[in-house]
Symmetry: C2
Subunit: 312 residues, 2 copies
């Protein structure tokens, strides 16, 4: 059974276009309507044939939808929701894909009183942006977190959950506040740290930026990937999930100071103990299929063949 038959996607960037492609791949009879505030993106979406129809106005996009998903930066969700209010069918379910949930749930409820709202966050993405960057398997084996607000009919939550499962995701439910704390540590803080270190490295006097780039394979390049993520999206994330991010940042700074002290006083034992502990976390992530165990992420094209020849 199809959870929805007429899906509207507002915002056709990396995530919105991936949702569209994933629907096409897994539920080909679903009618997809798209809209984006940017005329160039609408044009690209038409050229890429991402939807059955790409409308020039948000209202026209939702007119006969049974599911409307906002795939816009979290700071723009309230306005995007308000823009479709007058045209939204009474029984349509509204969802989103934002990386912060407490603020977004409030913004959606304020803009669309009386509407069944099921905020969602597929924990998946790449450092690329725009409609051409999306792909149908982006959500495969990734978690999609639903944060239904009080009063949402259980059946609406169930249908949105079924929808994400069809796209290949595993679905989990939690409160918006807990979501925001979990993501502050698993996603927002890592991005902030990565943005910081990439900035630090390009501002040094004694080491040139070209040296930093040249020798980045020593570890730095791992940070640059997430520091290449969409600036608008991330500005909004940090402003929206401010409290949880600042709390996690405080913890991080304390821990960094402790390791800094261990280096300064030459406490090799503390360093060794810490580095051994963190190794186990990596093992669990690989075991649970949330990353690839191929050394170096398979960046070195030939190593797999090589490794396969050897007993381990």
């Amino acid at each position: 059974m199809l959870p929805f038959t007429r899906v509207t996607i507002v915002g056709l960037g990396l995530i919105g276009s991936s949702v569209a492609r994933a629907i096409r791949a897994t539920m080909p009879t679903v009618c997809i309507t798209g809209h984006d505030a940017d005329a160039d993106v609408r044009e690209a979406a038409r050229r890429l044939d991402l939807a059955d129809d790409v409308t020039d106005t948000p209202g026209a996009a939702v007119i006969d939808a049974d599911l409307v998903i906002f795939c816009v930066p979290v700071g723009a969700i309230g306005a995007a929701a308000a823009a479709v209010r007058d045209d939204l069918p009474a029984d349509a379910i509204v969802s989103d894909v934002g990386s912060c949930k407490a603020e977004v749930a409030r913004a959606l409820a304020d803009a669309l009183p009386g509407v069944a709202i099921v905020p969602a966050h597929p924990v998946a993405g790449t450092e690329q942006s725009g409609p051409a960057a999306g792909f149908a398997t982006l959500f495969h084996r990734r978690w999609c977190i639903l944060t239904p607000v009080e009063g949402t009919p259980e059946v609406a939550v169930e249908r949105v959950a079924a929808f994400w499962r069809r796209l290949g995701a595993d679905v989990e439910t939690m409160t918006p506040d807990h979501h925001d704390r979990v993501l502050a540590v698993t996603s927002h803080l890592p991005h902030l740290i990565a943005y910081t270190i990439v900035g630090t490295a390009s501002d040094l006097e004694q080491v040139t930026e070209s040296e930093v780039i040249k020798y980045s394979a020593g570890g730095f390049r791992d940070f640059t990937r997430i520091a290449a993520s969409d600036p608008t999206m991330w500005r909004d994330v940090f402003l929206t999930n401010r409290t949880a991010v600042l709390e996690m940042l405080q913890r991080f700074s304390e821990d960094l100071t402790a390791l800094q002290r261990a280096i300064r006083v030459g406490d090799g034992e503390q360093l060794f103990e810490h580095f051994t502990r963190t190794r186990a976390v990596r093992r669990s992530i690989v075991e649970q299929g949330q990353d690839d165990s191929a050394p170096d992420f398979g960046r070195s094209a030939h190593h797999r063949i090589d490794a396969a020849e050897e007993p381990r």
Copy 2:
């Protein structure tokens, strides 16, 4: 022309075993002798047929070598060099693969007075450890930095450079001090930050470690890879390159405080400007072949096919 005909590798972990495999692949007539202080590693190296001979003592390994490469943690290089002094042929060239060069150059010179020493650092590696983790193409298109000390015959430097080029690396020369500053920012600081954040994430009360692992695809997993690197190696790196690491850490902390403040006061413009700037650094790294442009490092096996079908 072969730069060397009898190469001895002391330390048969990830790097040492990769050097051995790369020699086999690119200079099959070279005679390789190996030694490791750990009997289990020696046993594994024999089983993997990494060398023509794996000796039980360091002295026996170097007896007829024209090149001896120490592939041990930087804190152990001085002792490893002292252990071969009595058996080293007078015309043998000595090198290493350590991640810090000023300290290591001193330790080698102290242990082996009068010997031609060419310290080297191939900027390549994976998060795996041990003799089975190595592979022949690890150094392909990676930089190998030579930091010759004053008085080293130019011909010795040239031969070591030729050796690394044969293994597939590009070779660059700089002073030990400059090397240590460059690597502090491109490698040591990123590892320290990654070790810290992985520790922070596993110590929270409100978010469980299993949640951190489950939702790691949001960014956190990128840090866990390098935080899974060998603890002994990295303890030694931080203790050895202490000054440069602490200096870079100070810069990083200042920059982090500035972004923290921007979040606290809600300065979206500053965040956006910073995040836009860091994006350009990533582009340069991909352009220079030091990383893969495939979104998500190709972690999602199917996206390439999908992306290839679309115009960009």
